[in-house]
Assembly symmetry: D2
Homo-oligomer: 261 residues x 4
């Protein structure tokens, strides 16, 4: 049976990424505490295509993914996946992005009731010539309460759900855990949010937010100062987006430290 | 050229709806003030398929839509579109749903500055045996401020953007305008929202919301009472959904009056 | 601490559904083979609110969900959840909708390689006065190849990914499994689809689709005939939607059997 | 009334982007033929925030947008908007991204019937120290027919809708029109797609696609070769994504020429 993909290409163009997208797959993520969490992954997996070949072999990406999806995924394991992809497809470079919801237990501040909050996360990994790059993305929902609204109003202050999106890179082999990023970001909003709050907890978070007003600019600057404390980080970006309660649009602030994107 | 669609079907099943979906098209909506607003429509158009025919003629839906999209659409005009569809496809029944963002000028409460707020709207029309049914859907964003949080907290109260979704039907030929529904719903939240607010406006809406706390249950009941004042309405449903600022999920309330869905 | 929700309401309106929406939660679904599958659930949980009460107690929905999420969910288990909700909130009626991606192993037709395909599923349950209603929804992706295009063209035929959406109800206590619905629907497209296909498999599915051309109308009618073979079913609806390869919109057909929606 | 935003900040961090997001607004886009097209815009508008200020003045973004939305937008006009933003907010840098559906008439290849196809477009502009950067993004839907499937199968070949996403930058002041990009990309798929096709047209596009099989790799390389013919371009990226008809995921290829992102 003819292998059309393998036929020689004469256009002289190496393509940086060829692969599969929107692959939904159950995955297993290694937790900081050593446990493993089953998640629903949305996966992009690609390899570079040398100039001489007409096409890649798409089925091999699925073979690799199907086999590895049973293992607990961490940055180290993703490197091994990419090494196998480079090897099987004779590629200089391979990349993999995984998006998933990750759950952490949250303890309500007064009643101490425990519930599970979802964080949108991303593992983005690239391997080229033995050089491995890993980018960790974590989105942390918080409450923001507007300092201006509080200052100028006789009573109350508008507040809303906001999300803080952090993406970061680190020196080879030393990465913070999702749990570390959540713990760093969550206290930088006006208040933490929780799935389950009893009345005494609702009083607590309402008052905490009122006493701790923050613009999106404040949230971003405070997260930046906290991230700068981690000497392992070589690059990061932070975005805070408030789903404004008095508008039908969002307010946002975005900061990046280090080169690249 | 053979007409496969026209071939005789022996499975004995009349299909209620056959047609096209996710058709994006610029449309023109008649405003209450007599003007016409250009909108981006997402259109579903279908007809029933008699049991004896294997398939419908999909291209005819696009022919009808392409021609009518130049005209100003209102409930009356949609009836004419559906009559043409029934006629051209020999169908007992035709249906059309249009979803679009509609803009209305909003005047900030103190500074009087004008900006344009977007409302997600839906026109759903059906024609069967000369009987025309029209359902108007309007989504109105508002602020809700939690009465419980305000009552139990020493300072502040959590609040958030919420959306009130109304769908309604009316006696034949007498329909409220989108503008009417917006004016009826908007004052039933804790405060109206606006794209553009100067500082003096922000103080106004913050204090108004604080003095006017509402659960989603309150919003729904107040909208229901207001809708009951309109003797033309024969069916309606109301949903209020608050994008809770202290949780990562929504609170909602839903009410329906009259039979059907 | 004052219980504002519990205060007496004088507007005289019972609200059909009050609760929470867009709650993301890891859930465990009972499989036909007796195993349990971890899924990412998107949950709506609500109860009716008697006319005399101002508000419901939203935190109780989260308490119930957090506890039950550890158990394997089936229709029987959902009835128990709803009974607890009715009990704790003194409600006449409670409802729960869960949406999740469910995975099943698919064996490629020639190479016999196994991979995991995702199906969007929905469990919708309601309990009112001891009467339990359960609606199962399953979306099955398939290929459709256009009979008209094949008939009139000298070579080839346009084809595309399509999705068949089935929702069904059954006599109390006797429900088909997700696996049953998938097995019933999947052979009714022009060809099944698979995550992982080697070249010999690709030849197989290409030729199978070409020899088995289907309009969306054909797919719907064939699924309807198959569903009518199951004497347990009391209501069902079927929609087939083709993401047309020659258009930027979808073609669809929709059929419903039985009363209600 | 106190201006909290204006208060002095001591954290020493200049923030690259502070502004508004998800602003929906009717806009007017200048067409190549000199006409103006009304579109629904989704706008992000931001400015840099100097290290000494606590916050920006969000309402000014809406003031600027509300006023400019009446004018016909082109790259030149966006430069003027950004200059005003820099001026009013004392910012070194301002950025604006507009996403919208743009419609072009398409003439069916045989019947010559005209209908309107939607293209997702993006204008992204930045102004910093008088230096203006403009990035044009256009997404063009096409059909791709798989060369491998055609080669190995006795009859037929799987095909599907695909989208080609192009983003490009050009020497200052000389930009291609959306219409130019569409005309360059559209012939590089296996076949063009159209909203409205009569039977004779369907035969034409089916046969054209079969005689013109293309991997996503082929589409990307052919678009790259065509873009290289335009001496004005200083940077571009091309992605082709096929919504595979035999899988539940996409195949894609991505190429970038020039530095930056």
């Amino acid at each position: 049976m003819k292998d059309v993909q393998n036929s020689r290409d004469h256009r002289g163009i190496e393509i940086q990424r060829v692969g599969v997208k929107e692959v939904h797959l159950p995955l297993r993520i290694v937790q900081r505490d050593g446990g493993v969490q089953s998640v629903l992954g949305n996966v992009t997996l690609s390899a570079s295509l040398p100039r001489d070949f007409r096409g890649t072999h798409m089925s091999r990406f699925l073979e690799v993914l199907t086999r590895w999806s049973q293992e607990g995924l961490s940055s180290g394991r993703m490197k091994a996946v990419l090494a196998e992809v480079c090897d099987r497809l004779a590629a200089r470079r391979a990349e993999m992005v995984i998006r998933f919801k990750y759950f952490l237990p949250r303890t309500a501040p007064v009643s101490r009731q425990v519930s599970f909050l979802d964080y949108d996360c991303e593992f983005a990994a690239a391997l080229e010539g033995g050089q491995f790059t890993f980018t960790l993305g974590v989105e942390v929902p918080v409450t923001t309460l507007c300092p201006c609204s509080r200052e100028i109003s006789a009573v109350g202050a508008h507040n809303q759900r906001a999300v803080v999106r952090v993406r970061l890179r680190s020196r080879s082999g030393e990465y913070p855990w999702i749990e570390d990023v959540v713990e760093l970001v969550e206290p930088r909003g006006s208040s933490e949010i929780y799935p389950l709050l009893k009345r005494e907890d609702e009083k607590f978070v309402t008052e905490k937010a009122y006493r701790n007003p923050k613009f999106v600019e404040d949230v971003v600057r405070d997260v930046v100062l906290a991230l700068r404390q981690d000497p392992r980080l070589t690059w990061f970006e932070v975005e805070a987006e408030s789903y404004e309660s008095i508008h039908n649009h969002s307010a946002f602030a975005y900061f990046k430290e280090g080169d690249g994107c």
